[in-house]
């Protein structure tokens, strides 16, 4: 097996406006395998917007963006419907992505076994986050884009997530995430907006 | 004024509505244009004053 070091994401000169307000301009970054990039910046600096741009959701007003591999996206909003249980949520996305992952096993890793059949509307914020992170394990994708991943997670949840991220990085995966706290995994570089 | 047959009221009503609508559209366009020009000129003047202020 050859290990490619070609960049997974290469972006230069990204700019975005909201109305007439320039949110940011001239932002560039290169994400190589095993990189973990943390986006820093005050509230409203555009961290979420930059992540959405890298995910292909928001169109940049200027700049070049190339993404060489599939990615996982976990945003502020978990994407869980009120009637979906953690189990049915993961099953649905396994179906959509053509994944054959063992869902009970993922639920166990996420410490969601007891909440596995509780509908989304009754889940706590932390349980919703854990369900969303379960999607990361459905399918191996080299790029992870995580927006404020620690939000609503308790100490155990953070440790669990740090473990996933660390093993993802070891397996040549890469990560871009926005956060305010110190990261519990090796950070390659930080980008301040 | 021209003399019309039995339907004079309808004819005048049509042209009156037309005059009001078109005059209204013109007046609104003119007022909006004047307000925008005024604000822009004020902002630009303000901007120039601010930019040249510290240098002087």
């Amino acid at each position: 097996m050859t290990i490619s070091t070609a960049p997974l994401i290469h972006a230069t000169g990204l700019a975005i406006m909201r109305g007439e307000r320039v949110l940011f301009r001239g932002v560039g970054l290169t994400l190589s395998p095993s990189d973990a990039i943390v986006l820093r910046g005050a509230n409203g600096a555009g961290k979420t917007t930059l992540l959405r741009m890298l995910a292909g959701l928001t169109r940049p007003e200027a700049g070049e963006l190339a993404r060489a591999a599939p990615h996982h996206w976990i945003g502020h909003k978990e994407g869980i419907k009120p009637q979906e249980t953690p189990r049915s949520h993961l099953a649905l996305w396994a179906q959509a992505w053509g994944s054959t992952a063992d869902i009970p096993e993922i639920l166990e890793k996420m410490a969601l076994t007891r909440a596995a059949d509780v509908p989304g509307r009754y889940l706590s914020a932390g349980q919703r986050r854990r369900t969303a992170f379960g999607r990361l394990l459905l399918e191996h994708r080299p790029i992870w884009l995580l927006d404020e991943p620690y939000t609503a997670l308790d100490a155990g949840g953070r440790a669990m997530l740090d473990g996933f991220i660390s093993s993802h990085l070891v397996a040549n995966g890469a990560l871009i995430t926005s956060m305010h706290d110190a990261a519990g995994f090796p950070v390659t570089h930080e980008v301040t907006l | 004024m021209p003399e019309f047959d039995k339907n004079a009221a309808y004819i005048w009503a049509c042209y009156l509505i037309g005059a009001i609508l078109i005059a209204g559209a013109c007046a609104q366009a003119w007022l909006a244009a004047r307000a925008a020009k005024k604000r822009l000129d004020a902002l630009v003047a303000n901007d120039n004053a601010r930019n040249s202020g510290p240098d002087a």
Binding site: - | F4, Y10, I11, C14, L21, A36
Partner: protein, 242 residues
């Protein structure tokens, strides 16, 4: 040519003299058409006597309502493909004016209908029905733009809706024609078509030209206002950022 018109500065200097020209020429044409229509041309007894003089405002308004929706659709299309900001500015300016002329067409048509058919609203008249739905398209477009929270989003949403509306207009027109042809055809108003005598046609065409010029002038004025407003917003935003 496109890039020439797409430049807001060029547009500002061009429209600075073109808009007044349009206003002047348009007003002259409309006044001449009015004078001809109200004083000079003989009344047509086949069209209910003097009431047909309403034609010199109703028919130009009808023409303009159709033309302005086409212009809105073209501007939206140009914006959607080439993202020329000026095309969006034009679309934004056209919509409310198109709605005004469309409303004028409906109002005068309704008033014309009362002595002719004995009713303020004739459901069997395909033209009136089509124009009514055109008014809804304009109002929907304006409401959608107004509810978007940034000008970029308003432009995109507006362009999508205007194009969806434009491809539906032929279908709406066809269905309305079919609906009305089931009942007796509206034969009283024959404003268009070769049946029209030249004595009516010339003032009608001149009135139509006048309304079009006035409309064009107003669109330019609104576009100038919008360009300035966007500059104001830009200056305010950069002042806030320091």
């Amino acid at each position: 040519m496109w890039s020439y018109f797409a430049n807001p500065h060029k547009f500002l200097s061009l429209s600075a003299w073109l808009a007044p020209l349009f206003y002047g020429a348009g007003t002259l044409c409309i006044l001449w058409g009015l004078w001809q229509g109200l004083w000079i041309v003989p009344k047509d007894e086949y069209q209910g006597g003097d009431i047909m003089r309403v034609m010199f405002i109703h028919v130009p308004a009808a023409w303009l309502s159709m033309a302005s929706y086409s212009a809105l659709a073209v501007a939206s299309f140009v914006w959607f493909i080439w993202r020329h900001e000026l095309a969006d500015i034009a679309a934004k300016a056209i919509a409310p004016l198109g709605a005004v002329w469309t409303a004028l067409c409906l109002a005068t048509g309704s008033i014309w209908g009362k002595p002719t058919w004995g009713t303020w609203w004739q459901w069997d008249d395909a033209r009136m029905m089509s124009v009514l739905f055109l008014l809804f398209l304009f109002l929907g477009y304006m409401a959608l733009r107004a509810s978007m929270d940034s000008r970029q989003k308003a432009a995109r949403a507006g362009a999508i809706l205007a194009m969806v509306g434009a491809i539906n207009v032929p279908l709406i027109k066809f269905s309305v024609d079919l609906f009305t042809s089931l009942h007796q055809p509206a034969s009283v108003i024959t404003a268009d078509g070769p049946k029209m005598a030249a004595v009516y046609l010339t003032p009608l065409l001149v009135s139509g030209l006048g309304h079009a010029l006035l409309f064009g002038g107003l669109v330019m004025t609104h576009m100038r206002t919008e360009i300035r407003q966007r500059r104001i917003a830009r200056l305010t935003a950069s002042a806030l950022e320091g």
